[in-house]
Symmetry: C2
Subunit: 172 residues, 2 copies
């Protein structure tokens, strides 16, 4: 059990870079100019950058789906930590199940857990409850936004600084 290691690889995007749907004209300033000037639709008021290739789903939906899997992973950890203290038997059963089953797809994990045994079914219902409560009450959404902005800023600065340092070293 001490060697248990479960890595959760979540596919943020299996989409091709070639969009299967025709490119939407949302916010694209580069419309073809074949139409007659006066028959062109009024310009779109959306000032956002055009994001291609997400088909029906938005980037937000894609990210939401991935967070959903992440919340399932977190919920399993929370339940394990709770069980460890006062129900070692259930803890062992859930840990053993986690070692055998991938958490990449949270819903598939829960579906399998429900069907493992009647005791596992109880654990699965608890995971469902915890992931819902975690998503709605505990997860710090404002903090997520703040941290993501900070990571972008710091990464951009670091990448440019490293590049400048590297090239100035070469010049010497």
């Amino acid at each position: 059990m001490a060697s248990a290691s479960s890595s959760t690889l979540l596919s943020l995007s299996n989409l091709s870079f070639i969009s299967p749907t025709p490119i939407r004209s949302r916010a694209s300033p580069f419309l073809p100019r074949k139409q007659k000037p006066h028959r062109r639709p009024p310009p779109l008021r959306c000032q956002k950058m055009y994001v291609p290739g997400f088909g029906e789903a938005s980037p937000e939906a894609k990210a939401g789906k991935n967070l959903h899997n992440f919340f399932t992973y977190v919920a399993v950890r929370i339940v394990l930590a709770q069980l460890e203290s006062y129900n070692p038997e259930a803890y062992g059963e859930l840990m053993e199940f986690v070692e055998r089953n991938s958490l990449n797809d949270g819903d598939e994990f829960c579906a399998n857990l429900m069907r493992e045994s009647s005791r596992h079914k109880g654990l699965a219902l608890r995971v469902l409850e915890v992931r819902s409560a975690y998503c709605k009450n505990d997860f710090e959404w404002d903090n997520l936004k703040r941290l993501a902005s900070k990571i972008v800023d710091e990464s951009n600065t670091r990448l440019m600084r490293d590049y400048v340092l590297e090239t100035s070293h070469e010049e010497n």
Copy 2:
């Protein structure tokens, strides 16, 4: 080019289920009772569930890091869509680079892009700029929260309904 397919696999967690750090007592109602009653520290006021095993980083930081990679992926798509319309040469160069280099690690991708050639360096700086602007202005954070809650609710309902349907079918 039409066969270009790039899947972005993001590792949401490579952490072991066994926490490398001692379990923090935050929000854990199961404190050891060896201390004298009157010398116990005042109970923690945090009502959140205890999430073990994220070490120094919080779940929010973990999710933020993953969103950062996702934003890089989105930024590359945005830049590609912009270039396709008015700079086919740069579009071809970036697309060719994307086919050769994984976007799993956004920062590594950008670092490599900067060092590919001076033209690629310009594209890399544009990707850095776009991912920052996308994160801060375009990405709909409120929508993300709403969608994630909706996905959790719908998934939980669906999982339980499927299970009930399946078991009632067996009983007949």
